[in-house]
Assembly symmetry: D2
Homo-oligomer: 359 residues x 4
């Protein structure tokens, strides 16, 4: 499959599809696309929400011009006919069966689930299913724009990274690549708001049972673990095992990853900070925070910004590397649009918020 | 003072000043102005924050191009030289002394505090100070764009309404004007998130003492009371007394006003709803929610949207009129920009978010 | 059915049953009963949770001695055999069919749902079902201990009041009874935390969709409306129509009712306050807060306390009467135990927390 | 100073003093003491709050019999005369100067600050002050009842542990002592609610700036670091360096510590779990949660319970040990009363809540 697309001298809007339109990430994609000067929504696809209008599925979008558009059943031919670029915000396990037909029909696609992030053999282990389209899987490019921008530009299928993996890989990769930490096991302690659990209601995600909750969950088997290992290996050449322990905290948006690496001899807080600053110089969304200053996920809310910080602790021979993002933006919908910008030859920040909604 | 301005055929950006830049409302103005295609920030003014950069005062804005700009002491001549339009987001009592000199120097201004909303004789009663510039006060136009757009367009000084008053007046005025409710006393029960209390820390606004708090406060003496009465009188010709009982609830943004009016004979829920629909037909930010459907302040977060709903209860001869907004946007910074758009001859929605940041 | 019970000179513990043990209110009953010197849990009943142990249903109770007790299917004969007093914390509509057999079997019972609070003819209108046991319904005493203590002491079946109704009736009744407000329509604006919605998960009660939410709901048809009218009529002799507009706010526990009554001529804030002070002199759980001081539902969390406040607003001829409670304690489980104390001849505060868990 | 006290055959109440009565921890001590069958408050001491009554300082305690008691200036002789046992809930740095005189006057004392937890030479480094009373400091026993109960029973001065240190040491010590983890560096990732920051208001602890915040802070210099090292050394004989990275999350109460230790060869999740179960068999407040089941700080709210969990991850050679408590109870006031019980010869759980206030 050749990539015939060249939007660098684009006229007018590129029409896109949003699959999984009624979920949290789908809604966020539509909110962000509304502010994008080069993309317009041409197709809304869903499963359980078919027949609802956008305004019914997302009353917070009811004032948008497209509020009356219906959410449609997801028919690959119709999707490919309506859109040059497809964003799939379906749950894990749903896009693996759907996107191959769309991609083979000629559209380009960005999958926001985990269905194209790992090698085929890892799916039974970490996701519990056999991947149905290993050959399409092989085409997928891992969409971390700050690290793999060139491959993304030419990709027909992009696997948009997980929220935790985004913050972890972007924080740790430059430091490992520079040899400032030893390529040994990394312990990643994650904290996330509740929106990462998706829109479906369960007793443990209700407000009453979540206010004041602080809960480790699904460790050490969280499916972002191999994604972190693979992303770090790709970016640095080092195969390091990752232990990932995520925690739910009573926020809605926001992910913070606190990574514990083995400090290389001679590494200082200053050399860690300099390394991150150099790695992301001129990248619009990455902000390196000096050691001692405050990092806070809250500041990134609604924006595509990543805050990074690194500190050396020689007493325990540890490099602490911290990343903070809005899981629905830099950890999902915003990063997907950043990838789309690269795929279309646009500046990567086109149409994406640089300012958080604070307080 | 004649108004010499005519931006209808504007070329390039209009330079604006933001006074009170380090507060919550100041920060929100800067966030929204960043996305505005016709306005650019030319001056940041403050008091206690003088000398800080924008990024220091507001780390959530640190990725904006203007992040390195300093917050300056507020000198009227310098402000008027740097900006054609001045947004003042200073606390109540601070702009009354400052804006007159700026306005007399030829700039146009929008005051987001309460300093130009009432007649001079009301200030000692409701705000506890003698107004220092009654003649300038007489020039001020009350800036509710949906009701007073024509006067706003020509105004040199606009008094941007209070958050509670915005939701209350926009909800009640059409219904009173149409005779669907009797012009008797209105009881307004308000609920607000904590950002309305401003950025200054007090023990009662700390997270620990506010989670799970539900607290009536400052009633019946809240200063939005006469503003509601005056706004309703101006829009409807009816002088009705208002009782306003505000409550703090553990949210950050969001204001809901639940207004209890005396139902006129023959009024039904349908006639109330139709009245609101007709009043705000084609107004981009007002959404009338049918009786029985959900109104929720959360949906408006980060957007300039107002949700309205009305229900007749013949059993108790009551018309219930509900309004919901983001207090920092439609209740402050967003409405100020909406006013600026009108003052500059731009479409009123220019540069303002229609979509809430949800969840 | 005669009441043979006389526990005034009680030796040892009275065995009680808790039906609906796995819900929020059931859990709170068990927590409070654990600290009670005269009651012990002899039976845990449930529906969907049958077979779970108490610790499985409520991990926060896992350190209690009874943590290993199973939740049992609710068989009236077995319940009556295991317990002298039955607390039913089943959902609305479930106890009406179950408690009659238990009561007829000789046990005394307290129903925490709405199934025994209204006259039979009101059930189709407000609850949507035909009451299955009108003759038992006629025996039920409305369990507001501060107003109807004498009848409660002798009752075999007590209808424990709703949370909103508790705060409203206890606040308004003395003022109406004293003639300080006119017996005309009362508008009750309620605010509640999310625990009132119960433990079952729905999309609208998830943390992600509830943080920062402020939402009016189910008005003017909320089923506490006729309960308020009936309770006020019983306590004061005045038949006044009530309009009740409840609102969800992002708290877990806490109910505040803000009631707007027609001020009688000559009534002052002082006379209102004095009236409440006199009405509840020496009652352990009622705290009258002076006008101008803060009322806050948060303070009552975990305790059986009710805060009351009243203010006269002659400008609008309104008496504002405010009540604040923990909906799961004074609004449910705590009040039920207070009723049990009266039924058993114990001091009404026995075993009930006077101190809130704050912050 | 000999310890003349012997309360084992206590008649009546032991009178205690609470210093720092107006703070969060002071209020929690008073709440818990109210439910204690053997202790009664004989003295309330404060600094800025002197002259307030208890009800003024803590309206949530306004229904307690002692609500009218005044908070008094802290005069050592008066305190020693009024109380046999002194709880000091003063801020770090305040009790070091006050308690020595009280202890030398014959009273026994429990300090809830950090002033008696470290060797004298560590104070300049970790707390920034020179310890004023090194000889009294030498007398202090570190008050972790589950590990050092015997010394506590005889102590005249107990240093009540920090919240983070409590969860960390109780989780890690048995595992290190059993050789299931290597005695190498431990990385402790802490999460805490906002009540740990105390009652004093700052901009960063306001509700508006804290909702949705997830923030690492004060690392690697947090003063609980040496306390953890020292506590582990005392309990296990192993001097292991600790890296402690605490994070603020938007909860009020609750601390979770996630500790990363080097897994010893052959250690399994099962052996870790068994080790913890064995270590705390029959201890009323420690609950070991099986791997895979949920740990949640919310469940412990208001109670003196500690939840522990441990998991082996052979892939990264890591033992993950998790602890969860209510920082104001097991992490402060509750543990202090547990220590008092031991000092007075009472069962350690006397008067302490086993059930959390949930939801």
């Amino acid at each position: 499959m050749q990539n015939p697309h060249n939007y660098a001298s684009m006229e007018g809007f590129v029409r896109v599809a949003v699959l999984g339109a009624s979920g949290f990430t789908g809604g966020e994609l539509i909110r962000l696309l509304h502010g994008h000067p080069g993309l317009e929504v041409g197709y809304l696809g869903g499963a359980g929400s078919v027949g609802q209008t956008l305004a019914e599925a997302h009353p917070h979008l009811a004032q948008l011009p497209e509020a009356g558009e219906p959410i449609q059943a997801m028919e690959p031919t119709a999707i490919a006919a309506s859109a040059e670029l497809v964003f799939s915000a379906l749950p894990n396990g749903s896009s693996a069966g759907l996107l191959p037909a769309i991609v083979e029909g000629g559209a380009r696609a960005i999958d926001l689930a985990g269905d194209f992030r790992l090698p085929a053999e890892d799916y039974p282990i970490w996701y519990g299913f056999e991947h149905p389209a290993p050959s399409v899987l092989d085409l997928a490019v891992y969409g971390l724009p700050e690290l793999f921008g060139k491959e993304i530009a030419d990709a027909q299928l992009v696997a948009n990274p997980g929220c935790y993996a985004t913050a972890t890989i972007l924080g740790c990769a430059p430091i490992l690549a520079a040899g400032l930490a030893e390529p040994g096991p990394i312990r990643v302690d994650g904290k996330t708001g509740m929106s990462g659990a998706g829109r479906v209601a369960t007793e443990t995600t209700s407000f009453a049972s979540t206010e004041d909750a602080i809960r480790p969950y699904r460790f050490p088997a969280h499916q972002h673990t191999p994604e972190m290992e693979r992303g770090i290996a790709r970016a640095t050449g080092h195969e390091v095992p990752v232990l990932f322990v995520p925690h739910l905290v009573p926020a809605v948006r926001g992910v913070v990853t606190t990574c514990y690496l083995s400090l290389a001899s001679g590494t200082t807080t200053e050399s860690l900070t300099d390394c991150l600053v150099d790695a992301y110089l001129d990248r619009p969304f990455v902000r390196v925070v000096a050691a001692g200053a405050m990092v806070d996920a809250k500041r990134t809310r609604g924006s595509n910004v990543l805050e990074l910080q690194a500190v050396a602790d020689p007493r325990t021979r540890t490099a602490v590397v911290i990343g903070a993002i809005d899981n629905l933006v830099k950890g999902a919908a915003g990063q997907a649009i950043q990838n789309a910008n690269l795929m279309l030859g646009l500046p990567e920040a086109t149409g994406l918020p640089l300012a958080g909604v604070w307080p």
